[in-house]
């Protein structure tokens, strides 16, 4: 499929599309935890790295087929999400954020000292099994399942937790259990993205998964509007393209990025799309249809 595509699309753009896809999966995971359920996680890159290294080791050292390695990486990340989630999700917003930062840093230092992962030198020679179709098929599946989840009983409960935990409890929602669930699912997707990343770049390094990476993904979730799938998608596309577009200004790239974040927060603190959800768009489309019928 990729070979077919490269005939029509320049390899550079193909690469960007793949990266957007991977980032989408990462961002949708974080969106579940932070955007929907309101649990601020600033260590998502930690799950990404667990997924990446686990999948890479399974592929390279254990000779496991690609899809199984991906699943293994994602599951390992989910396991860690679960283990970390249980004691920490009863903490208040800011405290939870602090823990996630700490956790991601510890993971990073761990991998810097992790022999089978190549320590600081990194892990190279990972088979480049991730293709455009791999990524985008997964993206479609993830979006589909996500949308289903968010429009269901469980999804509404997650939103309720974000809005008002006390009221949510009084409606029969076991908030701790669902927070751990959202955290674990988010970690799973983070690990999945990590595994895809590892098998695309063929080389990973603990520095790829530092605090800045967590922030980049968080920005994607926040920029478009927290909790909504279209919002996360827009945020991801914009923030994946931005560094590429800003290549023009090369060295000043990060300067603009930093300033951009500040400006965006000041003018659109609720993200570009606010809280638009799929049914809002449908409703607006619906209205337009009615209007045209009347004329």
């Amino acid at each position: 499929m990729d070979a077919f595509l490269t005939q029509y699309i320049d390899a550079y753009y193909l690469r960007i599309l793949v990266l957007i896809g991977i980032n989408l999966i990462l961002a949708l995971g974080l969106n579940l935890t932070t955007g929907v359920t309101g649990q601020l996680s600033m260590g998502h890159a930690g799950f990404m790295s667990i997924g990446a290294y686990t999948a890479a080791i399974m592929s390279v050292h254990l000779g496991v087929p690609f899809w199984i390695a991906l699943l293994g990486g994602a599951s390992m990340a989910a396991l860690f999400g679960f283990i970390i989630g249980i004691p920490t999700l009863r903490l208040e917003g800011d405290y939870l954020a602090m823990v996630t930062i700490g956790f991601a840093e510890i993971i990073r230092v761990f991998f810097l000292n992790f022999e089978p992962g190549g320590k600081a030198v990194g892990f190279s020679g990972i088979p480049a099994s991730t293709t455009f179709s791999t990524v985008w098929i997964l993206v479609i599946v993830v979006i589909f399942l996500n949308a289903r989840l968010l429009n269901s009983r469980t999804g509404r409960a997650l939103y309720a937790i974000r809005e008002d935990e006390i009221a949510a409890e009084s409606a029969g929602i076991n908030t701790t259990r669902l927070k751990v669930l959202a955290f674990t699912l988010g970690a799973f997707l983070g690990g999945l993205g990590g595994g895809l990343y590892a098998h695309y770049m063929s080389y990973i390094n603990p520095q790829d998964f530092g605090f800045m990476k967590s922030i980049e993904i968080l920005n994607m979730v926040v920029l478009g509007g927290m909790g909504s799938i279209p919002g996360t998608a827009i945020g991801t596309v914009i923030l994946t393209l931005a560094p590429e577009l800003l290549r023009v200004v090369a060295d000043y790239r990060l300067l603009f990025y930093g300033a951009l974040l500040v400006i965006l927060m000041i003018f659109r603190p609720n993200g570009l799309l606010g809280d638009v959800r799929v049914y809002d768009i449908k409703k607006r489309l619906g209205r337009k249809e009615v209007k045209s019928c009347q004329s």
Binding site: R148, L149, S152, R153, R156, S170, A171, G172, I173, T175
Partner: protein, 254 residues
């Protein structure tokens, strides 16, 4: 038959004793009112019943089952719904979604069934939507079902909170100052609504209120709290004429 029983309930926060040896029995299908000056312990009582606090001493029984130390979500699932003194709606959710969340306690499908859209999940969704529609109609909010809850007028928000609490099909409904901030006309409507809910949904209502007109008019029985103690209990007439109550709270000519 008493649906809610409190035996010698004492609640302490650090050095502060908010409730002292309170005995209470709420009978089935009663509209039971709790009144008293601010700080008397009324909301503390509510929070105890809904599991927000663990009683320092005493027993809390709902339909014979002990509620002490049960987490709030379990208590809700047993069939106790509540509204809050300061409205706690899910602001960024739609009106109908707010009500649907209320029925979480009486539905069972898990996240995997939800994600995969299995038939059981879809049936529950259907049921939740119907349930929500009915309740919204009862509250007169049907036409605003897709609006954000935060955009509703104050009185409408209060009604929405009640709808949400009713969505879990409670046997006991706790209303925390439901008339606060309402105009006299709205309060009249509220009284009609409360009576209607009790009739149509066959449930017991426990309410905390400051508006004496409302309380005296709709309550079957009233308990009066002062400084964490129950100082009187009885029918509206009995309470109205109780000397201690008049002295500490109502004033002469109530």
């Amino acid at each position: 038959m008493s649906i809610l029983t409190m035996k010698k309930i004492t609640q302490e926060f650090g050095g502060l004793r908010a409730l002292h040896d309170v005995d209470l029995q709420v009978g089935e299908k009663q509209i039971f009112g709790i009144i008293g000056p601010n700080g008397a312990g009324k909301t503390t009582l509510f929070n105890l019943v809904t599991g927000m606090y663990v009683p320092t001493a005493g027993e809390l029984l709902f339909k014979g089952q002990r509620l002490n130390q049960m987490p709030p979500y379990n208590i809700a699932r047993l069939g106790i719904g509540r509204t809050f003194q300061n409205i706690r709606l899910f602001d960024k959710l739609s009106v109908i979604d707010n009500v649907k969340v209320g029925s979480y306690a009486v539905t069972r499908t898990g996240f995997i069934q939800n994600m995969l859209g299995l038939p059981r999940s879809r049936r529950e969704e259907h049921w939740m939507a119907e349930n929500a529609h009915e309740l919204l109609q009862m509250m007169g909010l049907e036409d605003k079902k897709d609006e954000y809850a935060a955009s509703l007028a104050y009185g409408e928000q209060r009604r929405l909170e009640i709808a949400r609490a009713l969505a879990l099909k409670p046997a006991l409904l706790l209303l925390d100052e439901p008339a606060a901030g309402m105009t006299p006309a709205e309060k009249e409507e509220l009284m009609v609504l409360i009576r209607k809910i009790r009739e149509e949904m066959s449930l017991t209502i426990l309410l905390v209120e400051h508006d004496m007109n409302l309380v005296m008019n709709i309550c079957d029985k009233i308990a009066v709290l002062n400084y964490g103690r129950k100082i009187a209990e009885g029918s509206p007439d009995e309470v109205k004429n109780n000397q201690q109550v008049i002295q500490s709270y109502l004033g002469v000519g109530a």
